[in-house]
Amino acid sequence: MSTTNEPATLRGKHLLGIADLTPEEIVLILDTADAMKEVGSRAIKKVPALRGRTVVNLFFEPSTRTRTSFEIAEKRLSADTLNLAVASSSVVKGESLADTVHNIEAMSPDMIVMRHASSGACEFLSRICKSRIVNAGDGMHEHPTQALLDAYTIRSHKGRIAGLKVAILGDLLHSRVLRSNLLLLRKLGAEVWVCGPPTLMPPGIERYGVHPTTSVDDAVRDADVVMMLRIQLERMQGLFFPSLREYFSVFGMTPERVALATPDAIIMHPGPMNRGVEIDSAVADAPNSVILEQVSNGVAVRMAVLYLLAGGSEA
C-alpha cells in the first residue's frame, strides 16, 4: 500500500451537533466532502466504502430535501438504507421513542439518521442505543449537516470562512439551522450578523459572539454572504408580526437590499423558500444565488459525515 494512510477521525461516535465539533474536525468534514463531491460527478456515482453497512433513516418530522439527500448519500457509499417515516410507523399506534428505537436496533443497523420534533431527541437516542447517530434536525436545537453544507458552499465560493461577513436574516427564534450555523461560523472565525423582528430575536443571542440587529441594511451592508431563513409558519402559534406582507416589506430580501452587500456576495437559503415572504423571487433566482448548489453540496457533505462516522473513535 502507499505510505499515505493518515487517519481521519472525529472524536465522537455520533454527530449530534456542531457544538461537539472542533474547528479541525469541521475542516476535516469539509475536505472529505470535497473528495465525495467528485464521486457525484462520475458516470457511475457509487463507491463501495460502506458496503454491508445498514443505515436507518428515521424521520419523525416531514422532510423531503434532507431525507432524500441522506438517502442518496448512503446509496452513493453503497450502504443499505431503510426509510422509516412516522406516518407509517408504530409511533402512531402509541409506541414510545425508546421502544421504537430498541426494536430497530434489534435488527442491528450500524447508523441511525434521525429527525425529531423534540430538541435533544438525538442525544437521548445516543445514550440508549449502540448505533451511531446522525442528527438530521432535532426540534429547535441543531441541524448540523445543514450548517456543514452551508459552510462547504461558502468555502467553495469564497475560498475561506474566516473573516467573512455573513448576514443571517429571518426567523431566528425557531431555527435549528441558525443555531448550528452560528456555532460553526463562529468556530471558523466568520463575522456574523443576525437580523429579524424583535419578536423573533432569541434572547441572549449575543452569547454566540454575533451582532444582532433589527436593521436589514446594517446586517447586509458589505456582507460577503447573505443567508435567509424560512419564516416557519408551522411553528408560529402566536403572532410574531402583523402580516406576511408587512414582514416582506420590512425584512424581505429584495434586489435593492442585496445591492448593499459586496458585489460578489452570494445568496443562500436552506429551503424550502417562502417566495415573497423572506425572499423576493428576483433574489432567489439571481445569478449569485447558490440555493440549488447548497442542495447538491448537501449530498457530498452527508457522504463525508457518514464515511467518517462509520470508522468512528473508540469512545
Binding site: 500500500m1 487517519p7 481521519a8 473528495a35 454491508g52 473513535s313
Partner: protein, 180 residues
C-alpha cells in the same frame, strides 16, 4: 538502519528508461493516458508523461486516482479511524484508452486491486498497464507490473520509502529496517 536505494540521478535515469519502454511498446501514444495513484503515483506519472513528451512529442494526460473508498480493509474493524479521502481527478474519458496505472511501490497488490475497481467505475478502457518505480515483492494478490523501475528484494519487516521533490522535497528511494 536506512539504505539509500536510489538517489536523484538514478531515479531520473530510471524514469527515463520507463518512458522509453512505454514509447517502444506503444506504436501510438495518442490513445494513452496516465492514472497516478495518490499520493506519490501522481508526481511519478507526471514525470513519465514529461519524458514521453520529449521522446514522442505527445502530451499524454495525467489523472489522479484516490483509492481510499475502494480499499478492502475499510470497515473491517468495528471501530478505528478512517483513512483520509482525497479527491480523484480524471479529466478525460478513459473509454477505449490504454491506461497506464502508476504507483510508487508495488507490495501486496491490494492498492492495485482497489485502483482497478476505481478505474472501471470511470469507463471501459481498452487496456490497463501497471507502472511502478519499485517492486518490493510479497504479493498477496495475483498482480504483476508491466513496467518496473527496480526490483528490490525486501523482508516483511522492512519498509520502502519513495520520496519526490514535489511531495517530500527530495528525490530518493530508501529502505528501512533489517533484512531477515
Amino acid at each position: 538502519m536506512t539504505t539509500l536505494v536510489m538517489d536523484a540521478s538514478r531515479m531520473a535515469r530510471t524514469i527515463a528508461r520507463i518512458a522509453h519502454e512505454i514509447a517502444e511498446r506503444h506504436r501510438s501514444l495518442e490513445t494513452l493516458a496516465f492514472a497516478g495513484v495518490r499520493t506519490r503515483g501522481v508526481p511519478l506519472a507526471q514525470r513519465i508523461s514529461r519524458q514521453l513528451a520529449e521522446i514522442g512529442g505527445v502530451e499524454v494526460p495525467v489523472g489522479m486516482l484516490d483509492i481510499t473508498l475502494y480499499r478492502d480493509d475499510l470497515m473491517r474493524q468495528p471501530v478505528g479511524p478512517q483513512p483520509l479521502v482525497r479527491r480523484t481527478e480524471i479529466p478525460f474519458s478513459i473509454d477505449d484508452r490504454r491506461i497506464l496505472l502508476v504507483d510508487d511501490v508495488l507490495y501486496t497488490g491490494r492498492t492495485v486491486r482497489a485502483a482497478l475497481d476505481a478505474l472501471i467505475d470511470f469507463g471501459r478502457p481498452k487496456a490497463i498497464h501497471l507502472v511502478v518505480l519499485v517492486d518490493r515483492g510479497h504479493r498477496e494478490l495475483p498482480v504483476k507490473a508491466d513496467y518496473v523501475g527496480k526490483n528490490l528484494p525486501t523482508s516483511l519487516e522492512q519498509s520502502v520509502q519513495v520520496r519526490f521533490v514535489e511531495t517530500d522535497g527530495v528525490d530518493e528511494v530508501t529502505l528501512q529496517g533489517e533484512a531477515s
